[in-house]
């Protein structure tokens, strides 16, 4: 059996795999990319927000051809109780700039576009091909992959695993352990279609302006999680996600949570009359720095969700995916240039470069956040309620004097959480944030 030999095999055609493959093909390397879906994007799910900076560093003029929905001019952060929200909104005309920094996208369309750029750059893409195993030499070094297609093994000098959150190839090969239920969130999402004018009116938008709403509070029933609403051109993406461990402990159906969120009095009017065209579910690796696996070895590198590269606090993931994919590609291209093998020792350069970028700096900064957020019942239930009560007390004009109102609010917080509890939460929060 003679197998065709490639410089690099990339497993997966999501943002990290496409970033890696594009970078390598542009560097003139012979790259084979394998995707199990019928087309790139057919298995992929995201909110979805595209952060321009990460893509600009790969394809500077992406705005000329990429399928972008709306650029984000307003961010709303909502704390919900059962009937209200306390919100912080930031809207700025400054975001109506020539090169906006954030866009809403539809991943199935965006991934197809990205993949076309990858192929135009000279890489070979093979879809409908599930990688089933890593091929190793006698010394244990990864030298290729096996797939569910006939035709034997595919060989390469290095394999880049951009296989997404489930990462079955790396897991079954012993490169990393199974995800912990407390380190991963299950998110469900629906696509609600509405006429563009209706979306513009409901969210006070014009042209291609878009709004992002991130919500937390009693909607997750005390579980660690968040919900979101993103405006696209002619649709609204609505979703909610909670830690898998919390959902399992509570025996909770995520689609029931989604239904409750859609029916919240603050959300329902935004979706009224819409037509649902898709329902999706996906895992998000949210364990942060401490849940990250080994990132490289003899003949292999891991990028994107498979490497647990998600900043849950800032809702960033696809930008980390593209950045790690690009840096992995650059590292391999650099080694190739010097005719150096992709050995474990040489691939240490990959993590050295990651350390220099925002990727590892941010992962490290929030290394204590997941454990702070996990099982933080007050944050996801009590505080949203107290805040809403406080706001209502404050804004109602009902003959009660202001000093009494102030006292009432302070008492509600003390009764709800006790003074030491309040200070303790603030202290823990500050420590995890630092």
């Amino acid at each position: 059996m003679t197998a065709e030999h490639f410089d690099v095999i990339v497993v997966g055609a999501g943002p990290s795999g496409n970033a890696a493959t594009y970078t390598l093909a542009k560097a003139g390397l012979k790259v084979l990319q394998l995707e199990r879906g019928e087309y790139p994007g057919s298995k992929n799910v995201q909110g979805a927000i595209l952060y321009s900076d990460a893509l600009e560093r790969i394809i500077p003029d992406f705005r000329d051809s990429a399928p972008l929905e709306r650029h984000v001019i307003e961010q709303r952060l909502w704390m919900l109780d059962d009937s209200s929200y306390v919100g912080m909104h930031y809207r700025s005309d400054d975001f109506n700039e020539e090169r906006p920094g954030r866009y809403t996208i539809l991943r199935a369309q965006f991934d197809k576009w990205f993949s076309q750029q990858v192929r135009d750059a000279g890489a070979t893409l093979l879809c409908e091909t599930t990688v089933t195993e890593l091929v190793r030499d006698e010394g244990g070094r990864v030298i290729g992959v096996g797939t569910d297609r006939d035709g034997g093994k595919l060989l390469a000098d290095v394999v880049i695993l951009a296989e997404g959150v489930n990462g079955l190839v790396g897991r079954s090969s012993g490169l990393r352990n199974e995800l912990e239920p407390a380190s991963v969130a299950l998110a469900v999402k629906e696509m609600h279609f509405l006429p563009k004018e209706t979306i513009d009116t409901r969210f006070t938008l014009k042209g291609n302006e878009g709004v992002v709403i991130e919500a937390m509070g009693t909607i997750t029933e005390g579980m660690t999680g968040t919900a979101f609403i993103y405006t696209n051109q002619e649709s609204v993406s609505v979703g909610i996600g909670c830690l898998v461990s919390d959902l399992a402990d509570k025996g909770c159906s995520p689609y029931e949570l989604l239904e409750a969120f859609k029916n919240h009095p603050s959300v329902k009017p935004l979706l009224a009359g819409s037509e649902t065209k898709e329902y999706a579910a996906h895992l998000i690796p949210e364990g942060g720095y401490k849940a990250m696996p080994q990132l490289f070895g003899d003949g292999w590198i891991v990028v994107g969700d498979a490497g647990h590269f998600v900043n849950a606090v800032h809702r960033e993931g696809s930008n980390l995916a593209m950045t790690t994919g690009r840096i992995a590609g650059e590292t391999v291209a650099w080694l190739k240039e010097q005719a150096a093998p992709c050995s474990k020792v040489n691939l240490r350069e990959y993590t050295r470069r990651l350390e220099e970028s925002f990727v590892m700096k941010d992962m490290r900064k929030y290394k204590n956040m997941p454990s702070f957020l996990h099982r933080n019942l007050p944050l996801f239930d009590l505080y949203p309620r107290l805040l809403s009560q406080a706001a209502q007390t404050w804004f109602r004009v009902d003959g009660v004097d202001k000093r009494t109102k102030e006292k009432e609010i302070l008492t509600s917080f003390r009764k709800g959480r006790s003074l030491s509890g309040l200070f303790g939460d603030a202290f823990k929060m500050a420590r995890a944030w630092r």
């Binding site: 879906g37 992929n44 059962d82 599930t130 489930n166 239920p181 329902y279």
Partner: protein, 103 residues
């Protein structure tokens, strides 16, 4: 504690949600299997609620059964029941399974 709870959530049939999706089902070759068992673990039992596609149900004699046709390949069941060894989880064969139009 929370005022809202399971009882208060709007009832919804997950089938009506899955109806919107496109699938290419690999007939006769399910990519997830539940191993024969006498009594399901708490984790396996929880899948009858937690699976976002409602693939898991409680069958005869309190055993958990799966019909994976509506599976969205999220991996939640593998994360929960991989360690208990009660299920076997693979990706569908290349090209089969869920086909997202929007993602």
């Amino acid at each position: 504690m929370s005022k809202t709870g399971q009882e208060d959530r709007p009832k919804v049939k997950v089938e009506e949600k899955l109806f919107h999706n496109r699938y290419l089902v690999d007939a006769g070759r399910p990519h997830i299997k539940v191993h024969p068992h006498d009594k399901p673990s708490a984790a396996l039992l929880s899948l009858t609620h937690v699976c976002p596609a409602g693939c898991y149900s409680l069958g005869d004699g309190g055993k958990v059964e799966i019909v994976a046709d509506g599976c969205m390949e999220c991996g939640t069941c593998r994360v929960l029941c991989g360690p208990t060894g009660e299920i076997e989880w693979n990706y569908p064969r290349g090209g089969f399974g869920v086909l997202y139009k929007f993602g």
